[in-house]
């Protein structure tokens, strides 16, 4: 049997003998992607645990078993991990790393050693972020938004978190940079931009946001540190500084960041829908270009987080107007996906179930985003659970669901094995039901005026929190179940072969399963579109020795 990337690797330094060191020093994009996944998986348990802790605490009004300060630290920890450690690097660092070079027929990313370095930078960031849990002052209690002046005056250890967010930001920038150069330079000959798979388009648009938005939050965090320790004055009202400026700077990054999360996830959707409809995608170009325009418009709408901040009313109107324009390209994508199912042959494998489930949940998430883009309505709903429900529907029901879809979809590619479909489907249904039970009641609670970041609440809201709690239990059960299914599949799943889904894109044209170290045996010449099907069969076939087309 031929060697796979599990058997051999290139390393950044030297030629270590031990398997462990080979993993630690590897520059292979597939291994790095896997290591990212492993680390995120670990943190995800921390974040889920804190989320569960919050739900448990909120089961009834009044203090149950933690105090207010602990609760504040809990949602900060939850938000910081979920955003900076998990969802921002998430899809690009895991699936982008593993799949994107394969999709464009490259041997690796443009700067493999930088990729390795970035991974360790990310680890460093994670360590710094969590280190403050073990210091006396404790983890930051600012919320993931670090609003000044609260973050400048609190006695908890915000500096760690700020520094960590900065380091993680650097890692994110470097990932984006690496991918941009890779996509520009290393596409297989013949593959023009409009012959790239849509996942690559998603990664490309994301990479631009990583590159050109992250520095703003980087410098904002530095300014906050300088303010806190050197008193430069810019966020300190006692010196004439304006706290609202901090909010501007923070959201200039953090709004584009939400599109940074969702665009590669949309890319996953665009891979899965045609594959499991067994037909060419509807409106390839509009989907590709809508990714780009979402990224572009996404830069201009951060102010919709500041409707009640004291920002000028004129600015609010402009931001609100611009915000609506993000929904249009997003809508186009959704219609294109649904149209792709028309006259196809819909195969409801697990990845497809996740994708279709996401069409429901993200539509709810997105449309409620549109609700709070309306200024007058958002003045009421801002900082209530309505917003919280919106972004969990968007992030969990959008990004994370699609991430899971992608994990199921590319699992056989990465591992060479198949998980148990039946069990994977049960896990999906559990999570889908649990998720909606968990978050839908929160829309209602928010509409009635339940503010977020509340440790304690008025008895009227109890019913919503209780339904939500049971949803969380079901959801987390399904979640654990899903990981068990993955684990079992990895341990003793059946060999999947190179192309178990009958898919068309290049990553499924590998000489062996799992793929060898340097990917395709030869670089193919790409003179075809990414999703060419004829009567439900992939059109393009290769001789895997020479990578010449044989159809």
């Amino acid at each position: 049997m031929s060697k796979s990337y599990f058997d051999e690797t290139h390393t950044a330094i030297g030629h270590p003998k031990s398997t462990f060191m080979q993993w630690m020093l590897t520059v292979d994009h597939k291994r790095i992607g896997l290591m990212y996944a492993a680390v995120m998986f670990t943190f995800f348990f921390v974040a889920v645990a804190t989320a569960f802790l919050m739900r448990l605490e909120l089961f009834a009004p009044g203090a149950q078993f933690i105090d207010g300060d602990t609760f504040n630290q809990a949602f900060t920890l939850h938000g910081v991990i979920m955003i900076f450690l998990f969802i921002v690097p998430g899809v690009p660092a895991v699936l982008g790393n593993i799949v994107m070079p394969l999709m464009i027929g490259a041997k690796d990313v443009s700067f493999p050693r930088l990729n390795w370095f970035t991974f360790w930078l990310y680890i460093l960031g994670c360590i710094v972020a969590l280190a403050s849990l073990f210091t006396d002052a404790g983890f930051a209690d600012t919320g993931w938004t670090f609003y000044a002046p609260y973050s400048l005056t609190t006695s908890t250890n915000v500096i760690f978190t700020l520094v960590a967010a900065f380091i993680l930001g650097m890692a994110s920038i470097l990932t984006g940079l690496n991918f941009l150069v890779t996509i520009h330079r290393l596409r297989a000959p013949g593959m023009t931009f409009f012959k790239m798979p849509l996942f690559v388009w998603g990664i490309y648009a994301t990479a631009w946001i990583q590159l050109l938005a992250t520095p703003v939050v980087g410098i904002t965090l530095i300014l906050a540190i300088l303010e806190k320790y050197f008193g430069i004055g810019i966020f300190d009202p006692a010196k004439g500084g304006d706290p609202v400026l901090f909010e501007h700077l923070f959201w200039i990054y953090s709004h584009p960041a939400v599109y940074l999360m969702i665009l590669p996830a949309f890319g996953i959707m665009s891979e899965i829908i045609p594959t499991f409809s067994r037909r060419e995608i509807f409106g390839y170009r509009t989907i590709a270009l809508s990714s780009a325009s979402i990224a572009g418009i996404g830069y201009l709408v951060w102010g919709h987080h500041l409707y009640t901040s004291g920002m000028a009313d004129t600015a609010k109107v402009i931001f609100s107007f611009l915000t609506f324009f993000v929904a249009i390209p997003t809508g186009i994508k959704f219609y294109d996906w649904v149209a792709t199912m028309y006259k196809g042959k819909i195969i409801l494998s697990t990845p497809m179930l996740w994708a279709l489930g996401t069409i429901i949940t993200f539509t709810i998430g997105g449309l409620t985003g549109v609700t709070i883009a309306m200024i007058g309505v958002d003045i009421h709903l801002q900082d209530t659970y309505y917003t919280v429900a919106h972004f969990h529907y968007a992030m969990l029901g959008g990004v994370v669901f699609l991430f899971f879809a992608g994990l199921h979809y590319w699992f056989p590619l990465v591992s060479g094995k198949m998980y148990n479909e039946t069990h994977a489907k049960i896990a999906f249904y559990l999570q889908f039901v649990g998720f909606n039970l968990l978050w839908f009641p929160m829309f209602i609670a928010g509409y009635y005026g339940m503010p977020r970041r509340y440790f304690d609440y008025l008895p009227e809201f109890q019913i919503y929190h209780q339904v939500s709690f049971f949803g969380a239990v079901i959801f987390i059960t399904g979640l654990i179940y899903m990981f068990v299914v993955f684990f079992k599949g990895w341990r003793n799943g059946k060999p999947s072969g190179t192309n178990p889904w009958n898919a068309t894109t290049l990553e499924w044209h590998m000489p062996s399963s799992p793929p060898p170290l340097e990917n395709h045996s030869k670089v193919p010449y790409v003179d075809f579109n990414p999703y060419e099907y004829h009567h439900g069969e992939p059109v393009v076939k290769f001789d895997y020795e020479t990578m010449k087309r044989i159809d």
């Binding site: 199912m341 006259k343 003045i379 005026g449 439900g536 069969e537």
Partner: protein
Amino acid sequence: MDVNNTLQGFNTMAATFAKDVDQAFWINFWISVILGLSVIIPMFYFAWKYREKNVKDEDIENVTHNTALEIAWTLIPTAMLMVLFYYGYTSMQVLRTMPAESESIVVHVEGKKWSWKHTYEANKNGFVHKSKELYVPKDTNIILKMTAPLNDVIHAYFVPAFRMKEDVVPGRVTKQWFHSEKLGTYDVECAEYCGTRHSDMYTKINVIPKAEYEAWFEGNSKVGPGEKEVEKSKGQELYDDNGCAGCHSIDTDATLVGPSLKGIGAKHDATYLKDAIVTPDKDVPEGFTAGVMPPFALPDADVDALVDYMTTGK
């Protein structure tokens, strides 16, 4: 404040503009339902109609373009979005267009960790009402001018029953206004995260009949309308005014944010207590962290009065 507070009127529409906001919300709701179903119904239909068993491979068709449809699903949602923008904009305008001050009652609001204080303009006698809860007459424009102390953090004055909210920012003055047509007591919540007792930072708006309000406002009562005036020492007044109760209980042993001040006089002398108010970070009792209690730069006489109140209860 104990948590047996009940949120009153969260599903009522008490301010004049609440109906505009609700109208905007429900227009949005129905448009969202239409747009959402326009995606979800076809999805279910196709997933069922073209299910694996039903389709022969030869019947699959690669439809990739349909200009008319594509234009439709770009332009129709765009039009709907513009409708939503319009209602978002107009409902915001009623919320944000302040009435003339001459035709309104102006109240200054100070939000700080973790209490609210309302200060009225001086009445005919030159008396300035200060109150924790807000008392306003029915059918009158009220303008709130809000700010927070410079060394405090951001809060938000959120009145669910009125559908209004605006941040209270240190160093800035922000404003909002309302006009209530319904008598009643409505809850005010703090909606911007501000730390330990963020979720206890409630107060109330009492909308009362005009005459009752006038009588109260022109009088010199130190408590709200209809409440019995209790004799308060200067120290107690200061204790209330400065929001000490937001962090310290004085009648019970409960620890809120700072230590309970019950019987504090027996533990410490006056100098210590003075320092504890003026430079709180000097001596930090065990189990508490420095930097939480802000320094209070009060006149000496006031500090003395406070200390008296803490030690003697008067």
